[in-house]
Symmetry: C2
Subunit: 279 residues, 2 copies
């Protein structure tokens, strides 16, 4: 792994570049992105050069696609004619079924591994990038036919050096689980903020405690990134919404009848368990 | 204000005692609570002595009720025969209509001011207390007939010294606003954790990012405190749940049809505004 290319040097792509540098990678890091994103990423040292997608395909041993999920599918199609058989192509998209299918279609017999770092922020762009973004978080790898690339082992080693916990799943398992643990919390935060925003009571904008701040953090997330994710994973996302709305109905009924303790206990147990597993 | 009594020395009551000490109050701080709570509060210096409610009524210039909301109503009834006409009685309960009505009934012609510091944690007890808990947060005062107490001005000055932003509302305005900005976020966090907890997919307990951690923090809150709040404010809480569930239905429809941008924009605007107002 002498040369790396990053397509889409926003929060995740630029953090990947910074993390490579911090862990001692000294080769060229090529950026494929818009002029503004390139300029921000170069300024913080996340990339060394700006190149076209075609040049990235001819020069890089590892190509890291960290664009929005719909753009990643387009990029896989566009790079099809140029990717060599040894190059490792991987991505950081928040959905995996569609992207792995696009890779199978457009990069047949080439080395693709789908990826998804379960790390992020509600802010975007290289200016929010952080070499430590992946530390302590799960990094899912999926669609593993690309492990035949001679560069896969080195790439995987870097993920470990970043402090990420690498987990392998099928694309289907990934999209189903994340519909519940990532996409649903995003939707709930957005719907909560939208519901309050639709009320005319002016006190709702000034009288709140720290709980509302936590519960509306995800509502700050960029809509263009999320509309791609939600469109892509629509089926599992609608299932997750339906389960949540069923639970809201049960909760409403228990509040109406004055017996909420049971729901609080199972919720608390789950919240404690995810905190234990997050360590 | 020579002597203060605190009934219920949990997180809020013990933080009130610590904050008084930090701002220079040197008189006795009497605690009325269970033996375990008294012991924890005395250990951290939040109270100086343990007394009965009757003794607290005869000795204290200010009596601070920081129990669960149903206990506060009971305490108001129990203290009725003992409170003098000059003593300021105030509380820190999360609902205000019922408590102010109980004070009007059981302490007629005495000095009661309802209170609610919009600060808190998902943990409980004096061991979580913090002299800085109120800093930067709104402190609502309501049912203001108690400002005729000669001790009200000093009490109010201490709240300002704690760094709280004192806001006056009617009990009704309080309960309606907090149903949306505090009770609804609590219910949504609990329902989200309960919905995930009810799924058999084992990945839901290990594959998640920082968003799920934020969105389930409130789900750690103690059920006994919250069942009292939700029972007490049931009517407004059910209204808030219904508005939120309407918004979830709209959001589901927009995800199904692939047009979520509008909801994200209004949600983001609201989330930005509350952050600006939190400063």
């Amino acid at each position: 792994m002498q040369t790396v290319a990053i397509a889409g040097v926003g929060l995740i792509g630029a953090s990947f570049g910074l993390a490579l540098r911090r862990e001692g990678f000294s080769g060229p890091i090529l950026g494929v992105s818009s002029p503004d994103a390139i300029s921000a990423a170069r300024q913080i040292g996340a990339i060394s050069d700006a190149v076209s997608l075609e040049e990235a395909c001819s020069r890089a041993d590892v190509i890291y696609l960290s664009q929005t999920v719909d753009r990643i599918a387009e990029t896989l199609k566009a790079m099809g004619p140029f990717v060599t058989h040894e190059t490792l192509v991987t991505d950081a998209g928040s959905t995996k079924v569609t992207i792995c299918a696009a890779a199978a279609q457009h990069l047949p017999d080439r080395c693709f591994v789908g990826g998804h770092p379960l790390a992020g922020k509600e802010t975007r762009g290289a200016q929010s990038a952080d070499a430590g973004l992946f530390r302590g978080h799960v990094y899912i790898l999926t669609g593993m036919q690309g492990r035949t690339s001679p560069h896969f082992a080195t790439f995987n080693d870097y993920l470990e050096k970043f402090g990420a916990r690498v987990v392998q799943l099928t694309p289907q398992q990934h999209d189903q689980a994340l519909a519940f643990t990532s996409h649903l919390p995003q939707i709930v935060s957005t719907a909560l903020a939208a519901a309050l925003s639709g009320q005319s009571n002016p006190h709702l904008r000034s009288l709140f405690g720290p709980g509302l701040i936590d519960m509306t953090r995800l509502a700050l997330s960029p809509s263009d990134i999320w509309s791609g994710i939600l469109n892509d994973n629509r089926e599992f996302v609608l299932q997750a919404i339906d389960r949540f709305c069923d639970q809201m109905k049960i909760t409403r009924r228990e509040i109406a009848s004055g017996t909420v303790e049971g729901i609080f206990e199972s919720a608390r147990e789950f919240a404690l368990e995810v905190r234990k597993n997050a360590r």
